[in-house]
């Protein structure tokens, strides 16, 4: 037997498991080759140890306890390393997901908001009185950057002087004029804030809200809601909402006031004078109709602190005093506060 082949039997020699043939071959090789003899001599120590049954049993116990775990595995296959890698993966993935969600939500909202803005602006512009067609208001592009609303605060006169009847001053307010100066806006905002804070379905209210807030973004939702309510009222069969109206308030020489209201199409005008705890209806002095344009004139006195609520309703109202000082989708409403401009 070759020396290399004999050396392969060394492991069996110490264990005492060699067959008769294997032993003969190994010993013959040991007698023939010094290296094999020397190796067998070295195995003698192990053979003596394993000749003890207790030692064999001890080693068998070690083998049963070691099992596969004794095998040297790459570090990346160790349970601790795998667990740490899995934990890191989870943390990173969760962080990325959480970070993306607000961003995604924001990106989702931004396109929606971007869409809503032109729509809102279009809705607001559609309710301008100056260029609107009769009937239900149609959406139009805003004429300016948004300053289309008009207030009811009397401002410095921008028209020609009043004819000679002793009118001291006159002022006109229309729905299509630019927003009043800032202080007027503030006064208006203070006076009309309760009304504006309420749900204002009419485009008149929407424009007023825009003017009062200086065309801030916060007014747009209110205006939008107003437009929505108007449309909803129409959809609910409350009748067509009268077209926006214009009015002119004049101070007479005898201290009384004259209010001329002009509108187109059908409708019923009511003027209510309100004090802190009282309200009274002011009947129209005269009513004129020319083609589709109609004009109602009111003459009355006003005490300091009193305000006027002007209503234009599609249907006749049995109790004008019960009309809410706001847009309810079944008519127009405007509050007039004379005296702020020295009238």
């Amino acid at each position: 037997m070759k020396r290399r082949d004999a050396e392969k039997l060394l492991g069996g020699y110490a264990m005492g498991i060699l067959t008769e043939t294997e032993r003969r071959s190994l010993f013959e090789a040991a007698l023939e080759h010094q290296e094999v003899f020397d190796a067998l001599m070295d195995e003698e120590a192990l053979r003596e140890l394993l000749a003890d049954p207790a030692a064999r049993q001890r080693l068998l116990v070690v083998l049963s306890e070691a099992g596969p775990a004794a095998k040297v595995r790459p570090f990346w296959r160790k349970p601790a390393v795998l667990g740490l890698a899995a934990s890191l993966f989870l943390v990173v993935t969760t962080s990325l997901m959480l970070r993306r969600q607000p961003t995604e939500a924001l990106h989702t909202r931004l396109p929606e908001a971007a869409k809503a803005e032109p729509e809102q602006a279009a809705n607001l512009a559609a309710k301008e009185t100056s260029a609107e067609a009769p009937g239900i208001a149609k959406p139009q592009a805003p004429k300016t950057g948004g300053a289309v609303s008009r207030t009811v605060v009397p401002q410095a006169s921008k028209q020609a002087p009043v004819p000679a009847e002793g009118l001291q001053e006159s002022y006109t307010s229309t729905m299509a004029k630019a927003a009043p100066p800032a202080d007027q806006e503030k006064g208006l905002q203070a006076a009309e804030s309760p009304a504006m804070a309420a749900a204002a379905p009419s485009p008149v209210m929407a424009k007023r809200a825009k003017a009062a807030s200086g065309l801030s973004d916060s007014s747009r939702p209110q205006a939008n809601r107003a437009e929505t309510k108007v449309e909803e009222a129409d959809a609910m069969g409350a009748g067509p909402v009268p077209t926006p109206f214009s009015h002119t308030l004049q101070r007479l020489s005898d201290g009384r006031y004259r209010l001329a209201v002009t509108w187109e199409g059908d409708g019923h005008v009511y003027l209510v004078r309100r004090a802190t705890a009282a309200a009274s209806e002011i009947p129209a002095t005269s009513t004129k109709a020319k083609a589709r344009q109609r004009t109602a004139v009111f003459e009355f006195t006003l005490e300091p602190g009193q305000v006027l609520d002007l209503f234009l309703r599609a249907q006749p109202e049995p109790d004008p005093l019960a009309l809410p000082p706001s847009e309810d989708g079944r008519g127009r409403w405007q509050r007039i506060i004379p005296g702020s401009e020295g009238l």
């Binding site: 392969k8 498991i17 013959e28 070690v62 004794a70």
Partner: protein, 179 residues
């Protein structure tokens, strides 16, 4: 005078003589590589004397060789002890008080405990295949039986695996079984 009656007897005697002759060579060679050559010749002679005087009935080569291993190991161990306890006047001749079988003395018992501990640690670090192979060998299974158990076709494969596993284990134990 009895002449060997059969060729078998002659062959048996020759083979015993030849075996012992070769054993002497190997013992001298082994002892000379590990110890001084002068002692190697004496050591070989002592082993053969013991075999001749105590184990004259052992004739087969398969029995003489492992017997020579045991006697040689014992002689070497005794020689180490003598070297440590030199000058002691009450030395006991190992020839007069031979150790029977593998009964260990306290020193040998301590050495075996240490060896077993090292072996246990080395086995625990073995690979799965080596551990399985070692387990089968501890259970007394022969190499052909192990081949069947492990589902290997060639017996030489088992030899090769065992040789490699033994080599790895020996390296983990510092290159020798004894501490």
């Amino acid at each position: 005078m009895e002449v060997p009656s059969t060729q078998t007897d002659a062959e048996r005697i020759l083979s015993r003589s030849e075996t012992l002759s070769r054993l002497r060579e190997r013992i001298v060679g082994f002892a000379a590589s590990r110890y001084a050559r002068e002692s190697a010749e004496d050591l070989a002679q002592e082993v053969l004397v013991v075999i001749h005087e105590k184990y004259d009935h052992v004739e087969r080569m398969e029995d003489l060789v492992p017997l020579a291993f045991q006697i040689l190991r014992f002689k070497l161990f005794a020689q180490r002890r003598k070297a440590v306890r030199h000058g002691e006047h009450q030395q006991v001749s190992v020839d007069d008080h031979p150790l029977h079988g593998d009964a260990p003395d306290p020193e040998q018992a301590a050495l075996r405990r240490e060896m077993l501990e090292k072996l246990s640690k080395g086995i625990a670090l073995m690979g799965k295949r080596c551990q399985e192979l070692f387990r089968h060998k501890l259970q007394g299974k022969t190499f052909p039986e192990i081949r069947e158990l492990m589902g290997v076709e060639a017996l030489n494969t088992i030899y090769t695996w065992d040789h490699r596993c033994r080599k790895q284990l020996l390296e983990r134990m510092g290159g020798r079984w004894e501490p």
